[in-house]
Assembly symmetry: C2
Homo-oligomer: 377 residues x 2
């Protein structure tokens, strides 16, 4: 018997798949415009564990994890530059070269962590037609509107019949006051409406023809489309990081319900985040420690609900809980004796952690660069 | 200075890129419905060598190698079942699970062989819109016609202005008599016309909407589309196996010329094939030795223009040329002493090859399964 904490109901529920013996599971994968960091690893490990356990229980599992290679804009909303397009512009190469490079890196990192590969790893750019069809359905059902070549989801209208906010617990009236005014937002009926299709602006690199304009799909759309395409209109598990709960997953529920007339997901699961001094670790936030810097941290995941990487002074108060456990890749970061004396050992001693821990518990062993970095936080 | 044998001109030519210091290179990749075999490895190694050498010469190279995951039908023409769709039907899983599994295997095999990853690895299914746009252009230019929801390339009309057969040296009049009559061919004006878009038949799994019908792109179209999308309308090098020369590459030239009014490729390069008793090695021919059976054969490529795997009796006559050189993955296939005595050593002695070859030349060391297989041919 497996119990799952369902974010939707906020309860621990006994897991019962929709179709006996089969499980469909969709997990939000990375936006491939930079190297994977500890946050990506945590999500991957969490759902790898679940995938393995479901298989161990005898289920035939189809695990789908997407690659976002288009439509994810800088501020996670409907304005700003495409993350991949921007990186491509800065490096003066084709966006798909960025996608390929960081997809390869991601796969290599996942292999290093011993992760199983998903059964299907669909790309957003590989499902443009399907996204257009999905947007058309939502338009036909009356829950979206076209404005100047872009198509927006009509949150207020949807909320009259269904419940926008049921996953995140947010209320529409609070959203009105909290939504920032961003460039290109004026054509929306309401600031919390979100794009299903965006008309391209001059200079935007990745774009496709559509019934509405030359443009690109909204970020949230791909997951509604690819999950239901490969797992059916109703499927068992949708996973992702806690940071995706709102607006991404909330919008996914709205999209799928508006298009299909029914909710798609039975169990919503969210892994908690890795934080640095209380702030989410994220590439776009500039505080990420990449998996190439610290390549193995598998052991850590078992011991903490919320992983924290803290400066030494704060760390001291946590030392008895053996708070942060990171193993390190000795081959890559083998410390020269001098470096070790200068930085690592000195700092490690200051934390009060045992230098030769018993059993499999390893203290925070850091390479010079990473320890420097932590000490400077 | 680099000289390239250009299949198009049938001459060795001095390599001069279209844009100084930049090289665009497109190579036909695998159809991912089964494990990669020696034939795939040969193509990959050939162009990996070229890719490395061009980089060594100081060029900024963009190397594109596609993944065919849709539209490649069983008989390499316009009839029969989709190769991936068929495999999916037989295994009762989703076609994209087949694609994912064998793409992963292919990547693992390429990594084992030490191949560099291409800069872009586009999927045919990820470029359906672009293929439709390309077909539209050919229709608009008058070199294709629609029939019952399918779109066919009008070879005869094209040949009036351009030259169909310039790459392969085939003549249109010979093609008429040599083209088999296949199911679904009757709607073509001429049997050598080929599909740009095929209307789906009932039961076909992978299909998309289009201006003509719910269907799927013709196999040849993807390479014209993805090569010019990522390398521009004119690019330097197009590579592939000799078996793709006709009809695949011939049709690519026709498509690109018909759509763009100009030929796209400056240098056509073809690697020769691996044969078993004179027949091409191919998954669909049932005679393939997969890379999982014999995992390393890198050394072989240097010594032979045409690799041959032959039965021992034939092999004897080739022994002085050290004809077939295959190295093997000892960890995977470490022979128990008994097995070695029973099969390997006995057979190896019969070939007359030295058991302890000098230098880096290794004799044909085979695992039990593979040696059995060769002996039974």
């Amino acid at each position: 018997m497996l119990s799952i904490y369902n974010t939707l109901t906020r309860k621990k529920e006994i897991f019962e798949p929709i179709h006996p013996s089969h499980v469909g599971m969709y997990v939000c994968g990375p936006t491939v415009y930079g190297d994977a960091h500890l946050g990506h690893a945590r999500a991957a490990i969490t759902f790898d564990l679940l995938y393995r356990y479901l298989k161990y229980l005898g289920y035939k599992v189809r695990y789908v994890r997407n690659i976002t290679d288009v439509g994810h804009l800088e501020n996670d909303a409907d304005a700003g530059e495409d993350k991949i397009g921007k990186r491509a512009r800065l490096e003066e190469i084709e966006p798909m070269e960025i996608v390929q490079r960081y997809t390869n890196h991601y796969h290599a990192n996942m292999a290093q962590l011993g992760m199983l590969s998903p059964d299907i790893e669909p790309h957003a750019s590989g499902h443009i037609i399907e996204q257009q069809q999905f947007a058309k359905k939502i338009l036909e059902n009356g829950y979206a509107y076209e404005m100047n070549g872009s198509v927006y989801f009509d949150v207020e209208k949807y909320n009259r019949k269904y419940h926008y906010g049921k996953l995140s617990g947010r209320k529409l009236e609070d959203l009105i006051t909290n939504t920032r005014e961003l460039e290109g937002q004026k054509e929306k009926k309401n600031p919390y409406d979100f794009a299903l299709w965006k008309k391209m602006t001059p200079g935007h690199i990745m774009h496709w023809p559509s019934p509405w304009s030359e443009g690109y799909p909204g970020w949230h759309l791909e997951c509604s489309v690819m999950s239901t395409r490969y797992l059916g209109e109703k499927f068992d598990i949708h996973g992702g990081g806690m940071d995706l709960l709102f607006p991404h997953h909330e919008c996914e529920i709205a999209q799928s319900t508006a298009a299909l007339g029914t909710e798609s997901v039975k169990y919503w699961m969210h892994n908690n985040l890795i934080t640095i001094n209380g702030q989410k670790m994220g590439k776009s936030l500039g505080n990420a420690i990449s998996l190439n810097e610290i390549r193995f941290f598998q052991e850590a995941i078992h011991y903490l609900k919320r992983l924290m990487i803290l400066c030494p002074s704060v760390f001291l108060s946590f030392r008895h809980t053996t708070a942060v456990l990171l193993t390190f890749q000795t081959r890559q970061y083998r410390l020269r004796k001098k470096d070790w004396n200068d930085y690592g050992r000195e700092w490690l001693c200051s934390t009060g952690l045992p230098l030769h821990p018993p059993g499999r518990l390893m203290p925070l062993l850091l390479n010079r660069k990473a320890s420097m970095r932590l000490m400077m936080i």
